[in-house]
């Protein structure tokens, strides 16, 4: 294990899970959160890459595919079990749908389904499975946050980005509804558009893009970490006046 740093600013160290944690923004987030001293678990499909990133960062690597319904609860068990709870969930793993990108009229239904399974249903299922852990964290006075990684394609009707854009638009709206509905439980939800980054996903979508014109994923990761860190300093309080939480976790 090679823990990058142990930054003492976050006390207690937040427990953070990141999906899609072996490349692009997800990998940068794992590194950034570890750098700041968080306890981090990450999820990705490729076992060899998961093991390599786990070795490099000291984070808990978990193999799974959030687009598969059957993977969700095994992932939730491993995340909550290995971290001992959960304060922050970053739904980062994404699918473009058809690659190369296609006009909607040329998009196969299966490609649209893949984008929806990865970008919408996967985050919904994983969030739902981990909501008990997040709400428990909020009851303990910790900052419970779900960060859903979105895109400007969620709002702008870019031709050929239909499957991706529609799925991210749905994810953003779902984020707003989650945030309204879970306010009383003290769990925050935020959708983040990290900008056009120099990542493998962007290279798949726009192969001829000049990387020099793109944002570094490390910068976006730093910005997201700062947002999460500011949340750690000011947990969302439950509005009810009679809220209680346990003094410490059960020892059973």
């Amino acid at each position: 294990m090679n823990a990058l740093h142990s930054n003492a600013e976050w006390k207690p160290a937040p427990r953070i899970a990141v999906t899609g944690g072996t490349s692009g923004l997800g990998l940068a987030l794992v590194r950034e959160f570890r750098h700041r001293g968080a306890n981090v678990a990450f999820v990705a499909r490729d076992r060899a890459r998961v093991e390599r990133v786990a070795q490099d960062t000291g984070a808990a690597g978990i193999v799974g595919n959030i687009a598969r319904k059957e993977d969700i609860h095994p992932l939730a068990i491993q995340i909550a079990g290995r971290l001992g709870g959960l304060d922050v969930l970053v739904n980062n793993a994404s699918s473009l749908g058809p690659v190369p990108l296609k006009l909607l009229a040329d998009t196969e239904c299966e490609d649209l389904e893949l984008a929806l399974e990865t970008n919408l249903l996967g985050p919904f299922r994983l969030t739902k499975a981990l909501l008990g852990s997040l709400a428990a964290a909020a009851r303990e006075g910790r900052s419970a946050v779900v960060v859903n990684i979105s895109s400007d394609a969620a709002r702008n009707p870019y031709p050929t980005w239909g499957a991706y854009g529609a799925s991210k638009a749905a994810l953003e709206h779902m984020t707003r509804i989650w945030d309204e509905e879970l306010a009383a439980e003290g769990v925050r939800f935020v959708a983040v558009d990290p900008g056009d980054m120099d990542t493998p996903l962007h290279a798949l979508a726009v192969p001829d893009a000049d990387p020099a014109t793109l944002k570094r994923p490390e910068l976006s990761a730093r910005e997201i970490a700062e947002l999460v860190e500011s949340g750690q300093r000011s947990p969302r309080r439950k509005p009810d006046t009679s809220t209680i939480a346990a003094a410490e976790p059960s020892s059973q």
Binding site: L75, S133, A191, D193, G195, R236, D240, A245
Partner: protein, 251 residues
């Protein structure tokens, strides 16, 4: 009593038994729980998530098929040691009491359970009841349990239970071996109704000095929402929970 025969734990027809102070017993819908509580009442719920605690595999010394049902864990600080009940061949369609015994089990015996290997540390106070220790790193044990295990099943159910069938709405730490079934009475709408009515809800207890201890959180209004880059989370909720890093603005 009507035994449940379907893997549906959240039936809207599920009942709530209420015993009044005068001994009168009422049968109400589960959703009436909030109606019978008053402001300041305390609801303590078990928020354990259910481990897939049934592991099929084999007893290495004899080659006999076995099913291991995890039943206890001495500490949550490590994932290696469990007490377990061992069955011989068969599956959940045979009633537990009719299941054949496992082969004779001896301390040191290896058992293979999916991707996991364990050894019997010792036989406890029944030939089926053992203390086992999984081999390997904690990460591999968690993965093996999550991937190879199945929820403990019941002979009276026609269909096998999936993990989502045994997962309550408030499920948190994966520490239970069977579902905390009372938790199925709760959903997030009910918790919101409790909140609005001033009913106190808690899920975790510490057992210091053999009693449940709680800590009151400070009274405060909700400080919710999203923040622009470099700022703290605002005390007032913005109109939309969305953060745009392109312009660093709340939209």
């Amino acid at each position: 009593m009507i035994a449940a025969r379907q893997p549906v734990q959240r039936s809207p027809r599920a009942k709530l038994g209420v015993v009044k102070a005068n001994g009168e017993i009422l049968h109400l819908p589960r959703t009436a729980l909030v109606d019978v509580l008053n402001r300041g009442d305390l609801v303590v719920a078990n928020d354990a998530a259910t481990l897939p605690a049934s592991l099929a595999g084999g007893h290495v010394p004899t080659g006999a098929p076995i099913e291991v049902r995890l039943a206890g864990r001495h500490t949550l600080t490590e994932a290696h040691c469990f007490t377990a009940i061992v069955f011989g061949a068969g599956d959940f369609r045979t009633r537990t009491e009719d299941r054949p015994p496992p082969p004779p089990l001896t301390a040191g015996d290896a058992i293979v359970l999916g991707s996991l290997t364990a050894r019997i540390e010792r036989v406890l106070d029944h030939p089926r009841c053992v203390l086992i220790r999984f081999e390997g790193a904690a990460a591999a044990i968690w993965e093996g349990l999550a991937r190879s295990g199945k929820p403990i099943q019941y002979a009276h159910l026609a269909m096998p239970l999936a993990l989502w069938d045994v997962w309550t709405a408030i499920a948190g730490p994966p520490v239970s071996f069977e579902p905390p079934s009372a938790g199925f009475a709760l959903d997030w709408r009910m918790l919101a109704r409790m909140q609005a009515k001033g009913i106190v809800f808690a899920t975790r207890a510490c057992r210091s000095t053999n009693r449940i201890a709680f800590r009151l959180l400070p009274r405060s209004r909700s400080g919710a929402g999203v923040a622009p880059v470099g700022a703290s989370w605002p005390s007032e909720r913005p109109s939309c929970a969305r953060w745009n890093m392109r312009g660093a603005s709340v939209t």
